[in-house]
Every structure is written in C-alpha cells, then in structure tokens.
C-alpha cells in the first residue's frame, strides 16, 4: 500500500464525490417525469448509502490501526505451552527459543517484535522467560510473566568462593523435579567425595576439600531414584594461597588444645607466636607477650583464653579492644571454668556464655565428641562461627569496628586430631582464623554477569588482560558507564585468568545446565516483573494498519446495492406501473 493517497486528500475528495452523487440524484429526481420518480424510501436509501460507500472506500484505502497491537504483545519463549486461545486482539510472537506454535509469528528477538508492533503497551511473556539479551529491551514495559514449570534438575547452585589449599569448601544448591534423588560431589579424579539424599525441599549442602593451590574442577551429579544421572555440572574450586596471618596466642596455661593448634599452625605455615604462662611470671612459650598498641597493630589475630583474659590489666584490655576496632581479630578460647568477672566482660562485648557444659559432635568428625561451654542468648548482631553435626550454633563472632571478636567455646578440639580427623581439626581452625583475622587488601576482582552473557569485571585496575582457556588474551577496556569495571564476553567455558598490574586471578566460566539457566531466567523475569514501570506512552498513532479487505467487501456490497437500486429505477421508465411500486 505504498501508493495510498494521503488521508487528507482522500478526506477532501470523498465528501466531494458524495456531494456530486447527491446532486446527481437530485437532478435525476427533478428531471424525471413524476411517474418515474423514485419512491421516497428508495431515494432516501440512495442518498443515505452514498456517504456510507464513501466511508467504506476511505476505510478500504486507509484501514484503521490494528486494535490488538496497541495492547498486549504475547511473547512465547522456551518451553512455552501451546496456547488454546489468545486474548482478543493479542498478537503472538515467538522468540527463537520457543517451540513451534500455531499462529505465532517468528521473530529473531524481542526488539524486532517491538518494532513490528510499535503500539505494544505491555508484554505477556509465556514459557521460561526472556533470555538475557531481551531483558533490557523489555525493561521499559510492564511485563506479565506466566512461567512454565522448570525442567527437572539443578535449580540453584551456590559455588564456593576461593578457598585456601587444604581447606574445606561447601557447595549448596537446590534440585527440583527429582523426588527421592541424590546428589554427589566428585573430585577431579572422578572419585566420590560426598553424597546426600535429597530431602523433599531439594536443598543440599556438600562438603569437599581443596588440595594444592590451583584450579580444580569438581563435579556435581544429580541422580534420580533409579540412580541414573539426571545432570552433571562443574563445581569450579579455586585454591589460592593467601599471605598467612600473623597470630599471637596468649595462653593462661599450657594445654593439649594449644599444642595441637601450634602443630597445625606450624604445618600450615602460619607465623604464630605463643606466650604460655606457667604461673609466677614464668613463660614457657616463644616470648612473653606485650599487649601494647604497637605490638597489636603488627598482628592479624590475637588468641586469648579465659585465664589470659582475666590476667590482662585494664589498660591492656583497652589496648586490645582499640586494636580490634582498628582491624585486629580476637579469638576468645574457653579452656575451663570461666570466672564471673570474665563472663560479664565478654557479655559486654556481645558474646555471653551459658553455664552448662555440653558434649558436642562436630560435623565431619564421625562419632568423636568434644566438650563445649554453652553460649548464652546471643545479641542479634552476632554471627555464628560454625555449626555442629546437629546444626546447632557453635561459637559466635561480632564485628567491632573493622575487626572481629569471636568466642570459641569448645574446650578440647584437639581430640579431633587424636581421633584421626586431623584434617577436620585443621579445617576448623582454618575457618576460625579466616573468619576473624584482619582483613587484607588485594581482593580478587568481582565478576558480575549471567553465564554465557556479558561479564562485568569490577574492582580492577586497568589496563588488564584476560586469558581464556584456549590461550587467547583480550585486553579489557574500561566501561565508561561503570567506573572501575570492564566488560568481557567469554567465548569458551573454563578457567580464565585476569591479569592486572602484575597480579593474576582466576575465574571460571561454566555452561549452565538447562534447569539452572531456566531457574536463573525465571528469577530475573520475576525481578523484571516486579520492577516499577514507566506508564506506557500513548503512541497508537503510528501503529500498523489492519487488513483492508473487510472494508473493501463492505464497500463492494454497498456499491452493488446502490447499483441495483439505481438500475431498478432506471429500468422503471419503460415498465409501466407495477404493484410493487406502490
């Protein structure tokens, strides 16, 4: 319809035509002999039908806007169910991920669809949701999302952050659609590390341990009731060596717990200075501790017990607390009965102790039972240090300024080392030290982005390069929209290394499982749906025009009726009077 005359011209011509037709009718009526004059009803019909025909001709030439296109656009995405009935006037477009749907218009992406239906005021998304490439396009529009059921498999996966060599890590997640199934964690050699039967909720947490420094690809397998593998995903574990913390241990007495702590620290390469009081001013540690601000500023972690705490002078205590506000970490060990004064002081720090001494069974340590002093009612701003096998909190810490103070109530952790679970003993201390020790600059860059999409590498000093698993390096460019960030499009799955100002970090790009991708898509879509929308602008003027043929048919019928009426009249003169004319 490229040759359509401008509507304004049409709007002028057509009334003119109608006027001429009326004039013609009037002339015929006047000039005809009285007997041949049309009866009044026919004349009325002829007069009335002229503008109707003109109107229909106008609509044929300028069909009105499609009624639905100014309303809701239905977007079919992956796994979209076959729609039985669309709402009246709704247009249905199918993105490339969608299955074959009858009556759906295939579009390469949502942007194309919106260009084809410019009047779209709202979107109705059916199926698994818009892929990441289309979400930005949809962001300005109200979105109604009717999610399809997620495919069975892994629906959520929490990957471990960078771990220290030898330290334990935990992988959590959620599996849906696999009732009675199980998950298992396998090491890079394919050997089973941990397994768990899925509860009804589908949540799971598995524990593994890193070995040497370097990237390791563990794998997580989801099996159904019949033990057939439903899904296998990679669990990337990056073991990185951090600078070991400088630790000062001030012990009120020598004890087995201290002995095994020093054994582990020595093996793990931690610089640990011990001051062990033997009474009467005798120190059998490395050196008598001097708890002044200068010494404390040089330490990353201070380990005290209830006896050494009680032996601190008020000035020393003040120095310790001031150093904690400056970033020092403090572990308060319980090795025996705690005096009431110490209890009060610790409770003032937000770490109250209870009275009962209870046996605790530590997770991952088999049947071995340690002893712990119960914690008192904890304030809300304390954080649990660890949990025992029964998932009860074990130890707590609280931030104080930039530092942290932790209370470790287990009195005989060393029995783990004696009971043959030395790695668990080491893992617990490692976790404790990692949680509480002074923070350290030089954090790895943050990698933000959907899997398979554009990544934003933030907290990075440019220039920086990224090397992909194939060995190709890419120089990153700063993102002017996000200071400190750079964009990167990964092409290969696997371990990438980013190098910036002489330092290198690793990050892993995985091809997500279908179920996981669908679940992440759904979350993003629900966020998109919940996001506040700008009201749709009234832009129905430039909408696409509807089909013209119905108007043409109507015009044809009206024209035929006119023609018949006129022919009947014109035939009349030779035909004398018929009863029908009365």
């Amino acid at each position: 319809m490229t040759a359509t005359p401008p509507p304004l011209l049409l709007a002028g011509l057509l009334p003119l035509g109608v006027a001429i037709a009326w004039a013609r009718l009037a002339l015929w009526q006047v000039r005809a002999p009285a007997a041949d004059r049309a009866p009044w009803w026919r004349l009325a019909l002829l007069v009335a039908l002229q503008p109707v025909a003109a109107g229909l001709l106008f609509l044929t030439l300028q069909p009105p806007r499609v009624p639905g296109s100014a309303g809701t656009l239905v977007v079919a995405t992956a796994d979209a169910p076959r729609l039985d009935a669309l709402a009246a006037g709704d247009a249905l477009v199918a993105l490339p991920e969608a299955p074959a749907l009858a009556g759906a218009e295939r579009v390469p992406d949502l942007g194309t669809a919106l260009r084809r239906y410019p009047g779209t005021a709202r979107l109705r998304v059916i199926g698994q949701g818009l892929p990441p490439r289309d979400r930005e396009v949809a962001a300005g529009l109200p979105v109604e999302f009717a999610p399809a059921p997620l495919p069975p498999g892994l629906h959520a996966l929490a990957l471990p952050p960078a771990v220290a060599p030898g330290a334990a890590f935990r992988v959590g997640g959620n599996v849906g659609g696999v009732p009675g199934g199980s998950v298992e964690l396998r090491d890079p050699a394919g050997a089973l590390v941990a397994t768990a039967v899925l509860p009804r909720s589908g949540d799971f947490v598995l524990t593994g341990a890193a070995r040497v420094a370097g990237p390791a690809d563990f794998s997580l397998r989801v099996r159904d009731v019949a033990k057939t593998v439903v899904e296998t995903v990679v669990v990337p574990v990056d073991a990185t060596v951090a600078a070991p913390p400088r630790v000062l241990v001030v012990a009120g007495a020598a004890g087995p717990d201290l002995k095994y702590l020093r054994r582990w620290a020595s093996d793990a390469g931690i610089v640990l200075t011990a001051s062990v009081a033997a009474g009467a001013g005798l120190d059998i540690g490395d050196a008598a501790a001097r708890l002044d601000p200068g010494t404390l500023a040089r330490q990353d972690l201070l380990v005290l017990d209830e006896r050494s705490w009680a032996a601190l002078s008020g000035q020393q205590r003040g120095a310790v607390l001031a150093a904690v506000r400056g970033g020092l970490g403090v572990v308060l060990r319980v090795t025996g009965p705690v005096p009431d004064a110490t209890r009060r002081q610790w409770a003032a720090l937000g770490l109250p102790l209870g009275k009962a001494v209870v046996p605790v069974r530590l997770a991952g340590a088999g049947e071995t039972e340690a002893t712990a002093l119960q914690l008192g009612p904890l304030p809300r701003d304390t954080v649990t240090l660890d949990r025992d096998a029964a998932d009860a909190p074990l130890g707590a810490w609280r931030a104080s300024g930039r530092g942290r103070i932790g209370l470790w109530p287990v009195t005989d952790l060393y029995i783990l080392a004696l009971a043959g679970t030395a790695e668990r003993h080491a893992g617990l201390w490692s976790h404790l030290f990692a949680t509480l020790a002074r923070a350290r600059a030089g954090a790895p860059p943050r990698v933000i982005g959907p899997p398979g999409g554009r990544l934003a590498l933030c907290d990075l000093s440019l220039p920086a390069t990224v090397a992909d698993p194939g060995g190709a390096t890419t120089t990153l460019l700063a993102d002017p929209a996000a200071p400190g960030c750079a964009g990167y499009w990964p092409r290969l799955a696997g371990w990438h290394s980013v190098t910036s100002s002489g330092k290198a970090w690793r990050f892993h790009i995985a091809t997500p499982g279908r179920a996981l991708a669908a679940a992440e898509n759904r979350t993003a879509m629900l966020q998109l749906q919940a996001a506040p929308q700008s009201p749709p602008s009234a832009t129905s003027n430039d909408g696409a025009r509807g089909p013209s043929w119905p108007w043409f048919v109507g015009w044809l019928l009206v024209s035929a009726l006119l023609w018949w009426l006129e022919r009947r009249r014109s035939r009349r003169p030779g035909a004398g009077h018929t009863p029908a004319d009365i």
Binding site: A164, P165, A189, A268, I284, G285, S430, A437, P469
Partner: protein, 710 residues
Amino acid sequence: MTAPFDLALLAAPARRRGIANDLAVAVPLVLAAAGLAWRWQGMAAALAILAFGVALAAGLAVYRARRFDARWVVRRLDAGRADMEDSTDLLLAAPDALGPLQQLQRARLLARLADETGAALAPAWSGRAIAAAWTAGLVIAAAALLWPAARSGETARPDVAAVPGGPPQLVAQQLRIVPPAYTGLPPRTINGLDARAPVGSRLSWSIEYRPAPGAVVLTLLNGERLQLARRGDTFTLTRGLDRSMLYRIGSGDRGAALPLLHRIDAIRDTPPVIRVLDPERTLTQKTSGQRRWTLNFEASDDYGVAAVARLRVIVTKGEGENISFQERTTTLTGSGPARKRRFSASLDIAALGLTVGNDLVAQLIVTDMREPGPQAVRGPSLILRWPPDQGVQGSGLDGMVKTVLPAYFRSQRQIIIDAEALQRERRRLPADRFSQRSNALGVDQSILRQRYGRFLGDEVSEEPSLPTNDAPVAKPKPAAEAPAALPSGHALDDGHDHAPAKSAVFGNASDVLAEFGHTHAEGDANLIDPETRTLLRQALDAMFESERNLRQSAPDQARPHAYVALRLIKQVQEATRIYLARTGPDLPPIDPARRLTGDRKTLGSPRLAPPPREAGDIDAVPAAAWRALAGSGDVQLGALQRWIDRAGGRVGDPLALAAAIDTVARDPGCRACRDRLRGLLWQALATPPAQVQRRATGDAAGRRYLDALR
C-alpha cells in the same frame, strides 16, 4: 464368432519388451539401494531392500505393460502399416454389427494380418535409460562397498603415520606371550602391543616395517633400549617379563616423532591359601576314648598347589614350667585338581605320645608350583588338648576373695597333716629337733592366724608376715618426721589414719573417736557380716590354741584345736562372699608454702613449640604441574616423571601416570589428555594442612560503615 481375431496377441511381444525394459532400468537402482543398505544397516536390511525393490519393480513393470492392449495395437497398426488403410479398428468391432462393406474390408485386413506376429510392433529397447540406470547403480554400489569407513577401521591399523615414500610404516605387529610352564596357561599371540601376562612369561615381539628401517628399538620408559633383531622385513625381540612396564617401539631415530606408549602388566603369582575344613576350631579338647585325630585341609592357588605338602606335628611334654616340645614332620599327598587340592591326615594320638594335660599341635605347610622359588605358606596351628585331671584344679575360682582364701584353707589342713606326721615321727626324732619342727609349725599357724585376723581388724604384731605385693614399702624415715606420740601398738603404716587432729570438726562423733581412741571397725573387717565374724573369731581362737600347743612342742594337743579351726574356716568359706573395698592412692597433701620456692632460672628455656616438619614441600613438583596443566602452557613433565620415580609407594599406579605424562608430552594441546593426567595427579597428591584464606577489606563505603558501627 465373437472374436475372430485376437488383437491382444499381437501386443504380447510389446508387453514382454516393456516389462524387460522397465526391469532393466529398475534392477540396477534396486541393487544400488541394497548396497547402500548393506553398508549402513547390514545384510538383513540389504536383503529386505532387494526383495522389496525387485517386487516393486516387477509390479510396476507389469502395471505399466497394461498399456499395450488391443487399442494400442490398433493405433500402432494404423500408424505403422499403410496396408491397414486406417481401418484396423474394424477388427475391434463385432463382425455381426458391421455392414457388408465393412465386413469385406475386415476380411481383407485379416488376410493381410495373417503373417503379423506383433514383434515389429514392440517398442525398441530404451537403451539410454538402461545405460544411465546401470551406470548410476554401479557407481552407487561401488561407492557403498568401497568407501572407507569413517574411523572404525583406523584403530586396527598400526599407529605409525603412513606417509607414502616417507618414514617406514608399521605394517604388522605381533606379540607372542608364552607364560611359564608351571602356570599351565597356553601360549597366545595378540595383534596389539598392550597385554597382561603372568610374571616370568616370555614375550616375543614381531614387528614388520615397510620399507624396512635400519633398526627398530624397543625403549622402556626408564630409558633402557633394546635392539630388535632383523630377519627380512620383520624385527623380533624376546624378553622375559619380570615387572609391569611401559615401552615404545620405533625406529629410534632422534628426529622421528615419538611412537605411542604401550603397557604390559605383569600379573604376580599369589601365594596359596589354606582353609581348614576339619576341625572347625583351632583348639580341640580330646574326648575320652578318642584314639585318632582327623585333619582336613583345602589349599587353593591361582595356578596350582604342589601335590605334596608337609604336616608339622608338635607334641608337648611335661607340666608347669617344665615343658618340652617334640617336633616331627610328615608328608601328605593331596587329592583333587591342582588349583584346589585337599589334604587330609589322621594322627594316632597314642603313637605320637600325647599324655594327659599336654597339647598336640599340627600345622600344614603347602607350596605352590612357582618357578623359580615356590612360595610356601603355613596354615594355622591346630591344637588338640588332652584336658588335665579334673581333681587338680578342683576349687572354684569364682570370687575375688576365693583366689586368696583357698591357700589358707589348705595351709590349715597342711598344718594338721604336718602336725600329725610330726607326731608319728616323734619317737624317731631327737627332742630338740622335734621341738624345733613343732615350733616352726607354730610359726606357720601364727602367720595363718594373723592373715585371718586382718579380716577382723586385728593388728599385725611383731611376728613376721608373708611378703605380699600390697604391703607398704619399708622406708627409713628421718627421725624428725616421725610422729612423736602414737598409741602403743600402732605404726604409721598400720592401716589406720593417724591424721593430725587439726582437721577434726568439733562435735563429729567419728572425729572424736579418731582423736582419742581409734576404731577397728574399718578396712577389711567391716566387709564381713556378724555371723561370719563370730565364726571367724572362734576359728582364730582355735588357731591361737593350736599355735600355743605347737609352740610348746605338743602337736598332739594342738590337733583338736587345729581341726576346730579348719572346720570353722570351712564354714566361713561356705557362709558368704567377702568383698574388699576399692581404695585409690593416698596422695600426700600439697604444701603451698614450698611451691615455686626453688631455682627457676633454667625453667621455661625448653620451648614447647612443636618441632618443624621436614623442610621443603615434597608435593611442589606435582602441584606446579597441576596448575600448569589447568591452562594451556608448558608443563615440566620431566620433573614430574622424576617425582613419580622418587615418590615410590605414594603413587597408586605409577605406570598409568607415566603413560598419561607421555600422552601429554606427545600432544600438549589435547585437553582430554591433560584432564586425565590432572585426575591421576589429584589422586597422587596429599591434602595439605588447611591454610588460611584471608577476608577482603571491602570498599571504602564498607569501611566507613564499619567505622561507624559502635
């Protein structure tokens, strides 16, 4: 005369020609289709396609031949023969319906057609179509049969790259394995170079190269090079297998690409296993009247157990500490198959000289047939015990006290026996000797009385006491430490608590008693109920009378008292059990005044720091390789191989690691090979002690937030 002339007969040749034409076109196509089916789906599919295709082609041909009917003949005759005068269709009409002229014409036509056979009417061979069909069919069939298989055929080919006119190409490889004769395994020949064979097998490689290179070398992974002997185009080598090995075979040229590694696993001969079928237990008690002892063994081995085994039989003689052993060895001959032989023996108990209270020990020793050095295995020691006489160990050793008391009961009886014997010998003995022996008996009686007196709280007098392990060790005490005033008859270690009265609480009855007198109702004595105490008291009185008479050299007068004592003590024995109190060690109280008063200068110098572990990280090499393998860079494979050689038993399967290293060395870019090597390395790496991850400081906003926290 309905059909005087059958025009359809004239169409028969044409019909045959048409069918033949169609079949000639269709058959090659069907054959080609069958060839394709044979290549892709196998013979069954090919036969099915063939049968179906031929049937379809025949059906189509017959259907198509129906077009050659009478009307077609009419058309052909009208078109082809001028003498038919375009009136052949008269032949189709019924003669009765024709006019006379028409009948005349018809007769003329029939006369002209008398010699017409129809052969001329048949269509010509459609030569081009047939030629095209056959050509296409043959090409397709040849392609289907001759097209090289995608990959499957390649593994069977030797692994040396075939470059025409280039380096020598391995055209045949054979490995003949001759297991040692004793295994009884047949020799076998395999076409590959990887095998599993028993230790001691003879391995013969037979390699054929074309063109034959100057030399072929078998290189073991440890660097040992063995030259293969040349015989024509074939190179051979024979070698014994003593351990698992990785090797490669190639021309040995420096420049040539390294050939693939091959692996031969040596299967070690396992020692035999002995199972005792009879008796069921290791220790058997001899039943009364048993004359023979039957033993049954089953010995199994992976290749075979020697038919002759030895049975070691040991007989003990004597009792108590004076036991001697007598060993003899007999040979047994086994029965049954070599891999699972049975040995049985029946020992004559009397002939072996087993006596009451002694043991007969039997042990089977079998050997397998390994050459050289058969492996001998000793079975469990089976013991046949002739139980000692019941009377000797008759007393019931039930309770704790009964382990102590029977000795004293016997002692009382012994005193009576000795006293009676002394009385009988009285006349023969000199008077002083008699009174000396009687006095000695009196001392014995006294000791016995004092031991029982302890149960009643009696105090030990100056009489000698039996040495017991719970008696306090006599120590010379400094005079200053000895308490000045103890009640007469009391010693510091007499079992009473002579604690200083300072600790007493005023008004406490027991403290008062402890201060001013002392109670005897403690220790062992209060463990006995009152009736037993009475009996024991009477027994002690009788013993005292007996002792007095014995000491006065009157054993005959002592006898009745001794008998009374024996009777009463037996009643005590029957009366009840006696429970002894458990007591812990009494530690001396700590004197706080003396604490930390010594010289402390040297204390604290021995540091309690744990000793450092061995220096250096033994896993540094594999850890570096682990990291390097994750990327695509170079890996120090040589160092890794040396680490494996040094690591010894820490690596589970060193050959597999070595093979994986070799694969990576040949193809450094192969991701799967690197991952496989990483997996093996992961297994070989030990988990280090957990190190500490450091938390991050966070950004400026986070720090401001933390600083603002109270």
